[in-house]
Each structure stands twice: as structure tokens, then as C-alpha cells.
């Protein structure tokens, strides 16, 4: 472990890097002049469910995308299970924001789930019955088995989100990264998704979710990571998700955000 860390240029004292499913050090990402994420350190705890929270435009999605190599950072390094990202792609599953793709794309639900097997299938490997059965099983876990042959554009928003989750399940990863999976979905879908994520945690997987609903943080997650371009707080929910940390992450915007969240929590 120590040797590995040394090879990657991570300081040897920082043993948390080697043991973490996802360790980010000194990450800065910029789209143009202003940095979207500035000098962020993050150490995800294994076997836990972590929420990344922060106001709009705080760099939550950017942090996730940079951790996955979708956007290139200006500086910083990402270590996945103690090794560079490039060597660990098979152990990561990613659920992008639903709105990031064109749902009019000519493909069926089952084909999207099968995309999760593409590393396994390779360039020209044929999709065999066992792959299909595996994909159907993933659809079953998110309650979408009956929709396998539908064109993806015919689904509701919540159903589309479940299909994306099924694709991530098909990847059979150890680390699951989800970008706003609860955005604009119905209550039944939210329940179904959280049940799947909790079952992943039960089987020892690590789950990281970009989340926007402050009211559900304590119910859903063990750890939080508060960000507003810079890291604000990180740790178990009881320690890091407090009035002070929220105030410093959300600033003046908290008042309205909080009223909104609390009134929603009270129904």
C-alpha cells in the first residue's frame, strides 16, 4: 500500500488515500476564467453512502465529472481504490444527469442497460443470452423489467432515471457515482432508487451521490461532502451536516433554501 502511494506521488503519510474508494487531492477545474472547483480534497469512506451537497453552481457535478475523467482538471489527482483512475475503470459505475442525454435516441431500454456490459463485451463481442439475462435482472431490480423493449423516449422521467441506474448495476462496480438521481423523479422512483442504493451499501459497495434535497440528507446518507467551489465540510452526517456548515456553504441563500426544504419535509 505504502509503495503504491509513493509511486503515485501521494505523500506516504496520507494512508487514507490508499484505503479510500475515491480520493481526490488538490483538484481544480475551470471552465474559462472562474474556477468551478478550487483546490478540493475529498476522501470517500468505503462501504458508505456519501452525499455531495452545495448550492447551484457550487461545482458538485463538476467535481464528480473531474473525478471520472469526463472533464480535465487544471490540477490535482484522483485515486480510485489506491490506484490511478485509468486502471480502475472496471470498478466504477456512473449515472449521469438524466437531462444530459437525448432520450430521442433510437434505442430500447434493454440496449441502454447492455451498454453497462460493454467493457466486458469488448469491441466486437456478441451479446449472448446470459448477457441479456443479466441486463433483465438489473431492470428487475429497479422495477423496469416490463419495459425492456420500449423505446427510451417513451418513458417518463422517473423511468428513464431507473434505466440509467439499471445500466450502472449492469456494470457490477465497487464504486457507484450518481449525479442528481432524484432530480425531477416521482416519489415511487425516489423510493425505488434509494432502496437499490441501500442494498448496494449492504453488499459492501461505496455510493457517492450529488444531491440537492437537504431535507432527505439525514435519512439517506451516512456521510456528507459540502462544497461551494471550495470544500466546506466533510464527514459523518452528524458532524459535517450542521447549521454552521450549511450556513458557510449556502451563505445568504440558505434562508430561502432552508424554508423551502423544511416546509417540504413537513409535507
Amino acid at each position: 500500500m505504502l509503495e503504491l502511494a509513493a509511486v503515485q506521488g501521494v505523500s506516504i503519510e496520507d494512508q487514507s488515500v490508499a484505503g479510500s474508494p475515491l480520493a481526490i487531492r488538490g483538484l481544480t477545474v475551470s471552465y474559462g476564467q472562474k474556477p468551478a472547483v478550487f483546490s478540493v480534497d475529498m476522501t470517500v469512506q468505503p462501504g458508505a453512502m456519501t452525499a455531495i451537497i452545495g448550492p447551484n453552481g457550487a461545482g458538485k457535478s463538476t467535481l464528480l465529472k473531474a473525478a471520472l475523467g469526463i472533464v480535465s482538471p487544471l490540477s490535482g489527482q484522483v485515486t480510485v481504490f489506491g490506484k490511478p483512475l485509468g486502471e480502475q475503470r472496471a470498478r466504477i459505475a456512473y449515472v449521469p444527469q438524466r437531462a444530459s442525454v437525448d432520450w430521442d435516441f433510437p434505442t430500447r431500454v434493454i440496449d441502454v442497460v447492455l451498454m453497462g456490459l460493454s467493457r466486458q463485451l469488448g469491441l466486437l463481442g456478441r451479446v449472448r443470452a446470459r448477457h441479456k439475462a443479466g441486463a433483465m435482472d438489473c431492470l428487475h431490480r429497479v422495477g423496469m423489467r416490463d419495459f425492456a423493449d420500449r423505446q427510451i423516449g417513451q418513458l417518463s422521467g422517473g423511468q428513464q432515471q431507473r434505466v440509467f441506474l439499471a445500466r450502472a448495476l449492469a456494470q457490477d462496480a465497487d464504486l457507484y457515482l450518481l449525479d442528481e438521481p432524484f432530480a425531477g423523479v416521482d416519489a415511487a422512483t425516489e423510493k425505488a432508487i434509494i432502496a437499490v442504493l441501500k442494498s448496494l451499501r449492504e453488499s459492501g459497495k461505496t455510493v457517492v451521490v450529488v444531491h440537492h434535497d437537504l431535507a432527505t440528507v439525514t435519512d439517506y446518507f451516512d456521510h456528507v461532502f459540502l462544497i461551494n467551489t471550495r470544500k466546506v465540510a466533510e464527514g459523518p452526517v452528524a458532524e459535517a451536516f450542521t447549521a454552521e456548515t450549511l450556513q458557510s456553504a449556502y451563505g445568504g441563500r440558505l434562508a430561502t433554501a432552508q424554508i423551502d426544504q423544511i416546509s417540504r419535509a413537513l409535507g
Partner: protein, 309 residues
């Protein structure tokens, strides 16, 4: 029509038309889905400066340097478009518009500065191509297809476009899975290790090669039409990409064959005297097919748009 008449006069232009149509329609499927369909238009314009530069360098009008010049210009344009799109963070259509008008204008200026009396680059040729003139005079009938001596006399455009088509088919077949995944969900594609930037570039370069090879034989009208019309019509026939590709090939073949036949005989049937441009008629037929698909295609209604929540 007998083989004696058909093989020398119509077989080669027909095959060249069909091959060019398929070679453009195949990458066109992905370009249309990626909202990059205008790239065909862009490529056929930027070819001009490439040809002029090739002429300036070699001082002669010969096919290979000009093809290389055209292909080089297309690649430069594609790289410029990608660079402007990514650095400027603007939509691809705008980046293409900027690049192809500028390069075309530069080509016109360059052409003016050269000794144009020796250069024969006319606009008509570039637009309509010379499909009808690509005849096979050494052929005497169907038996010539197996006659090596006669095959030597084939118009060089035929093996060129055939080779291009084979290349396009190989590229599509080999990179089918990454092409499909990255076209649908680029972010996800990257997380599973697909190099989407390189792949996207390879796709447009493949399209550029197809465009240049087709342009040489059939002119820019067919190139632009074939990149867009068969794939767009095919999209309205099915909700599966695999089936869409098959439909686009069928539509490309129908456009090429019916366009060629109608251009040659249509005016005669209508009592006119002269044949019309085959390239123009092929492009028209592809537009007609698109219109029919838009009116009657089973998947023309875009359900996804209604699901806003």
C-alpha cells in the same frame, strides 16, 4: 435495355452513384444523431482551397494530388471545427459555419491569385459532378465484368469509391459499439474508457474521406444530400439504431438507382428531349423519400419531447 448497351453506358455510373450514396449515408447516421449533419456541407466547401493548394504545389491538374489536397483541407477543417467548438463552447453548427465559409472564401481568393487561365475548376462540375460521363467504353456486355482487359479500362472513380466504401463499412462495423454509446451518452462513454474525442474525430474524418471520394465522382449536391436525407428518413422508420442504419442504406440505394434512371429517361417519358443531371435527380429523390418518411413513417412522432418532467 440489353447488356451490350447497359454495361458500358450505365453500369459504372450506377454503381458509382450507389457506392457514393452508401458511403455518405453510413457515417451520416451518426452525424445526424450527433447534430453534426452540416459537416457534409462544410466539407464540400472546404475542398476548394485544398484543390487550389494542391494545384499550386504540383502545377498540374491530376487526380491524386487534388484528392490529397481536398482530403487534407477536409481534415484541417474538421480539426478547426472541433477546436472552435470545444474552446469557444459554442454549438457545432456555428463552428462549422465559421470554418467552412472562411476556408471557402480563402479558396476563392487563392484561385483568383493563381493563373486561372490554366486552371479549369468550374462551379458546375463541383456541384453536379460528372456521373453520366463515367462510362466504361471497354465493356462490350456482361461478359466484360470478368474480362481483365476490359476491367483495366474502368473509370478510376469506381475502384476509388468502392475502396472508400469498404473503408467506411469497416470503420462502422469495428467501432459500432463505442460509436453508438458515445453518440448516446458521451459522459458515460468516457467513464468506461472510450476516448470520445478521438472517436468523434475519426468519425468526421471518415465522413470527410467519403465526402471527398464522392465529391470527385458525383459532385457536392449528392454528398450533402446523402449525409442527411437517407439517415433522417431512416430515423422515422424505426426506433432502433441497427434498423435505422439498414433503412438508410436501402434509401441511399433507392435514391441513387431511381435518380439515375429518372434523370436519363424521365424527361423522355414526359415528352422532353434531353436528360437532366443525374446527381441533381438523385439528390431530389432522396429529398422526396425524406418527405414521404416524414409524412408516413411509423416513428415520425417524437415521443421524448413530451416527457419534460
Amino acid at each position: 435495355m440489353s447488356g451490350e448497351e447497359f454495361v458500358p453506358l450505365s453500369l459504372t455510373p450506377l454503381l458509382i452513384g450507389v457506392f457514393a450514396a452508401i458511403a455518405c449515408a453510413l457515417p451520416g447516421n451518426f452525424l445526424v444523431l450527433r447534430k453534426q449533419a452540416l459537416i457534409g456541407d462544410a466539407i464540400s466547401h472546404v475542398v476548394l482551397p485544398g484543390i487550389v493548394v494542391a494545384f499550386l504545389l504540383t502545377g498540374a491538374i491530376s487526380t491524386w494530388p487534388m484528392m490529397l489536397g481536398a482530403a487534407g483541407a477536409a481534415v484541417v477543417a474538421v480539426i478547426l471545427i472541433e477546436a472552435i467548438r470545444r474552446l469557444g463552447q459554442i454549438e457545432p453548427g456555428a463552428a462549422m459555419g465559421v470554418v467552412f465559409t472562411t476556408m471557402f472564401a480563402a479558396g476563392v481568393l487563392l484561385l483568383e491569385q493563381t493563373d486561372t487561365s490554366t486552371v479549369h475548376l468550374d462551379v458546375e462540375h463541383a456541384l453536379y459532378g460528372n456521373l453520366e460521363s463515367l462510362i466504361w467504353l471497354d465493356a462490350t456486355g456482361w461478359s466484360s465484368v470478368l474480362d481483365i482487359e476490359a476491367l483495366v479500362g474502368l473509370p478510376p472513380e469506381l475502384p476509388r469509391i468502392a475502396l472508400t466504401l469498404v473503408g467506411v463499412i469497416l470503420f462502422t462495423w469495428l467501432f459500432w459499439r463505442p460509436l453508438k454509446i458515445s453518440t448516446f451518452d458521451e459522459g458515460f462513454a468516457r467513464t468506461i474508457g472510450i476516448r470520445t474525442g478521438v472517436l468523434g474525430m475519426a468519425l468526421v474524418i471518415t465522413a470527410a474521406i467519403a465526402a471527398v471520394a464522392a465529391f470527385d465522382a458525383v459532385g457536392s449536391i449528392i454528398v450533402i444530400a446523402m449525409f442527411i436525407c437517407p439517415p433522417a428518413a431512416a430515423r422515422m422508420m424505426t426506433n432502433r439504431l441497427e434498423t435505422q442504419i439498414a433503412w438508410s442504406v436501402v434509401f441511399a440505394i433507392i435514391s441513387a438507382v431511381s435518380g439515375y434512371v429518372l434523370a436519363g429517361y424521365g424527361p423522355l417519358w414526359l415528352g422532353g428531349a434531353d436528360a437532366v443531371s443525374a446527381a441533381g435527380m438523385i439528390a431530389t429523390m432522396s429529398g422526396l423519400i425524406l418527405a414521404l418518411a416524414a409524412l408516413f413513417g411509423p416513428c415520425r412522432v417524437r415521443v421524448g419531447v413530451q416527457n419534460s418532467a
